[in-house]
């Protein structure tokens, strides 16, 4: 397995133990088969022996197999117990999954989308709930995974080790758009969260990152961050209805925070680079551009977001007009 940052060394250990047992068994079977194919081929061995079985041998391998699999079971069970019992002093974060984003809520009210900030050397316990379908919180670097449901709260825990970033770097990166964020995902020691339970169109884009800060950095961030999301704009009911119809807010934020697509904040009049066919051109977002983007999502694609496909929606002319008027107010 790839480099681990997990406190759950038992997972990798169990893997290597079962791997070695499996490899020995498989090599034994293949070697014996090849030997027989050569030694007892018909040309060389025309008269087969009349063997029906061997009780002693059969009993031996039955008992041996039973013992080996029971050992593996116990290894798995022990490791599992550890992975399911979070220490009492664990730092608790609430996780909300929705199509298709991860949000993290702290005890003091901070809420973050797509990024989980945690202190170094600390057990972290996640209490997770879904807003819609089943998702699965998967943090490969820590070997943990648990489904996230609407009907109940599920939990998992892991122990952080060294910091992965300095606070200033984190603040810099966190301001950037979602895309630049993922370009460097491999640089951040593979501390990424993936959704492991199929949840619809953008299942494979439902990612988040875990950022581990040093104790001081974390305290500074924890105590200085705004308690709620910055200036949540008021959404008039008829605009909200259009958002619900199109499902826009799953991928676009209103407050500038990074999501899958570009944020709506300040979108009116924004200059951005888009790819039209194979040509890159600069556009200014106006009514015409917004209309075209909604009706033909693939016609112009914002540079850097080529790998993400905006789905077609069922919004009509009236809906689009409502959105355009609303965007004008989103400074």
């Amino acid at each position: 397995m790839f480099s681990s940052f997990s406190n759950f060394g038992n997972v990798d250990l169990t893997f290597w133990i079962t791997f070695v047992i499996s490899a020995v068994a498989l090599i034994g079977i293949v070697a014996f088969t090849l030997y027989c194919l050569v030694a007892y081929r018909r040309k060389k061995h025309p008269q087969p022996a009349n063997i029906h079985g061997n009780v002693a041998l059969e009993t031996t391998w039955t008992v041996a197999t039973t013992i080996i699999v029971m050992i593996i079971f116990v290894l798995g069970w022990q490791g599992f117990q550890e992975m399911r019992s979070a220490p009492k002093n664990a730092f608790v974060v609430k996780v909300t999954a929705a199509m298709w984003q991860w949000s993290f809520e702290y005890k003091n009210g901070i809420t973050l989308d797509h990024v989980l900030v945690v202190p170094e050397n600390k057990p972290i316990k996640l209490l997770m709930k879904s807003k819609d379908v089943i998702h699965s919180f998967y943090l490969p670097a820590f070997r943990v995974k648990e489904d996230v449901l609407k009907s109940m709260t599920t939990h998992l825990w892991f122990q952080t080790q060294k910091p992965t970033m300095k606070l200033e770097d984190f603040q810099k990166v966190h301001q950037q758009s979602y895309t630049n964020y993922w370009d460097k995902v491999d640089d951040y020691d593979g501390y990424y969260v993936l959704c492991a339970e199929y949840c619809g169109n953008n299942h494979s884009f439902m990612r988040a990152r875990v950022v581990v800060l040093s104790q001081e950095d974390f305290e500074q961030w924890y105590n200085s961050s705004p308690k709620t999301k910055p200036s949540k704009p008021k959404i008039p009911p008829k605009v909200q209805a259009v958002f619900n119809k199109g499902g826009c807010l799953a991928c676009h934020s209103l407050d500038g925070s990074p999501k899958i697509g570009p944020t709506f904040k300040g979108i009116w009049g924004r200059k951005s680079k888009v790819k039209t066919g194979n040509q890159i051109r600069e556009i200014t977002v106006d009514a015409k551009y917004i209309q075209r983007s909604i009706e033909k999502p693939q016609a112009d694609v914002v540079v850097g977001l080529e790998s993400i496909q905006m789905p077609k929606t069922s919004l009509n002319q009236k809906d689009i007009q409502i959105l355009i008027e609303f965007f004008k107010t989103l400074k």
Partner: protein
């Protein structure tokens, strides 16, 4: 041809006159052999369709980022691939084809116990398949839930899921009727002298499978009724928005679908248990152990469905219990693998085409089984669950297991079914392509899964790119092998040389009737007075009057 020989060789079931003309002589036939072949051509067409979907999935995933399809199309592709492969190809699978064609002859019977029900099962499969295909075009989009139809996603997607599940239900009904037929056939229609322990192991495996078909399949029917009640009557069963429990859906789904994997693989083990003794000319090692392990796999298979739910939010204690029970499936499976391998010892081995498939079955299924042990291990599964490791694992067991055994069975019984022979050299080349391509396609997915590549991903992180690239190249090799194999078989069917009644020197009853068999299988009812894998007569005959093949082998000695 003299009158005497003409009398000795009755008309084959192909030549026998039917009450119906043309194609109706097939689709209204109650003859188990015709129904077996109907099934074979039906499910192989579904296989080729499902394979094309698989090809497109691999093509899309060759490089990271979108290549050819939108995410919604990709999601529909893996859903249709899974539904068609599982419900229309693998579950009817070997019992429907060889259980029908071969089982009655192996038992010395004239037909299955209920020939009309048997025809009805085929019709149910076809109607179920039509309903499933219809569901593709009747929703506002293609089904995109994956073949597991998990709740509550199945209630919020706008695809026509109830109809697809209804199709799966009809197919399940076909499966129940087939199981009923085979259990009765095995109990009531064995030839004189054929005790249970003189039955070939293929018959044993079909018998064990039939019990699962009868007892597990109704659960999927219950699940369907609940899905319909939820969708159309507004009863909250699985959808948490209506106070339903999505875990309940998973339980019900896997109570059926886990035993279903043994419906897939037990008959495959049966075919291998028949092929290996024939090409070793020696009784199978530990006959009773293999027969009993088939039965115990069928039994324990009911109690382990929860191992699909180790990360589902199910109670921790339940996860431990299911893991414990799961390990007991490993024991009878390992016993079978050891017994097959031990049968080779001091045999007189001919590495013919069916034998190649049987031996590669052992290899691939062992890999599938051993990785299954890893997935049954609780702590490991928390990491590996729902990753491409699982995808690789079940393709090794179902394709490497079921698929290779089915292809092996087709090569083994081809001369019996059609009275003709395919080109064996080409069959071996096709096997080689298939075997190499198979491993190249699926092995990289184990590695990607270990690194944390989730399954059902349209796009993936750049670090997984090399695995997907090689897997896609492998899929091309594998598909060339499959097409080459079918081409060769088709050529054998149309242009092949006439096959002997017993070309491989098999000891079971189907090799004692003409190739292809007459409509009434046995002119005189057979009497069985020896074990199924007793080759003494065949060896005696081989020594006293060697065939040209035997001469050639001796010359090389």
């Amino acid at each position: 041809m003299s009158q005497a020989t003409a009398q000795n060789i009755p008309l084959s079931f192909y030549e026998e006159k039917s009450a119906y003309p043309g194609i109706f002589a097939w689709i209204f036939s109650t003859d188990h052999k015709r129904i077996g072949l109907l099934y074979m051509f039906t499910i192989l067409s579904f296989f080729l369709f499902g394979m094309s979907m698989g090809f497109l999935i691999r093509l899309e995933k060759m490089f990271p980022g979108g290549q050819f399809f939108q995410p919604a199309t990709y999601n529909a592709l893996f859903t249709i691939h899974g539904v068609v492969m599982i419900f229309l190809f693998v579950i009817p699978g070997i019992p429907a084809v060889f259980g029908n064609f071969i089982l009655p002859i192996q038992l010395g019977a004239e037909d299955v116990a209920f020939p009309r029900l048997n025809l009805l099962s085929w019709w149910l499969l076809v109607i179920g398949a039509l309903v499933i295909f219809l569901s593709l075009f009747t929703g506002s989009k293609l089904p995109d839930t994956g073949w597991t139809f998990y709740a509550p996603y199945n209630t919020i997607t706008t695809a026509n899921i109830p109809m697809a599940v209804f199709g799966a239900f009809l197919v399940g009904f076909s499966s129940i009727l087939t199981g009923l037929n085979f259990i009765t056939t095995v109990h009531r229609l064995r030839a004189k002298g054929m005790t249970f322990f003189r039955m070939p192991l293929f018959a044993w495996s079909i018998y064990a499978t039939a019990w699962i078909q009868i007892l597990a399949t109704p659960v999927v029917g219950i699940t369907l009724l609940l899905v319909i009640a939820e969708r159309f009557l507004g009863v909250g069963v699985f959808n948490p928005s209506k106070s339903g429990d999505p875990l309940m859906y998973q339980h019900l789904f896997w109570i059926y679908s886990h035993p279903a994997v043994y419906i897939m693989v037990l008959p495959a083990m049966g075919i291998v248990s028949d092929i290996i003794p024939t090409f070793c000319k020696k009784p199978i090692f530990g006959y009773k152990a293999i027969a009993f392990s088939s039965m115990s796999i069928a039994f324990i298979g009911y109690l382990v469905w929860g191992h699909h739910m180790f990360t589902s939010g199910m109670a921790d204690l339940a996860r431990v219990v299911f893991s414990f029970l799961t390990f007991f499936v490993a024991v009878p499976t390992a016993i079978k693998i050891f017994n097959w391998t031990a049968t080779l010892y001091k045999g007189s081995i001919e590495l013919r085409a069916p034998m190649l498939f049987a031996l590669s079955f052992i290899f691939l299924f062992s890999i599938g089984g051993l990785t299954g042990v890893m997935l049954g291990t609780l702590n490991l599964d928390l990491h590996l669950h729902d990753t491409s490791f699982v995808v690789a694992h079940f393709h090794y067991t179902i394709f490497g297991g079921f698929g290779f055994a089915l292809f092996g069975g087709i090569h083994y019984w081809f001369p019996k079914m059609f009275g003709k022979m395919y080109n064996e050299t080409r069959a071996k080349w096709a096997w080689l392509l298939l075997f190499i391509g198979f491993n190249m396609t699926y092995f990289p997915l184990f590695l990607a899964g270990l690194e944390g590549m989730p399954r059902r991903y349209y796009d993936y992180l750049p670090k997984f790119a090399p695995y997907h690239f090689w897997s896609t190249i492998g899929s091309w090799i594998m598909i060339s092998g499959i097409l080459f194999m079918f081409g060769n078989l088709l050529h054998g069917l149309l242009r092949g040389e006439k096959a002997d009644d017993n070309p491989w020197g098999g000891s079971t009853l189907e090799w004692q009737v003409p190739s292809p068999p007459p409509l009434v299988n046995f002119t005189t009812p057979p009497v069985v007075n020896k074990d199924p894998y007793d080759f003494s007569d065949i060896l005696k005959k081989r020594n006293s009057s060697p065939t040209p093949q035997d001469q050639e082998d001796k010359g090389g000695q």
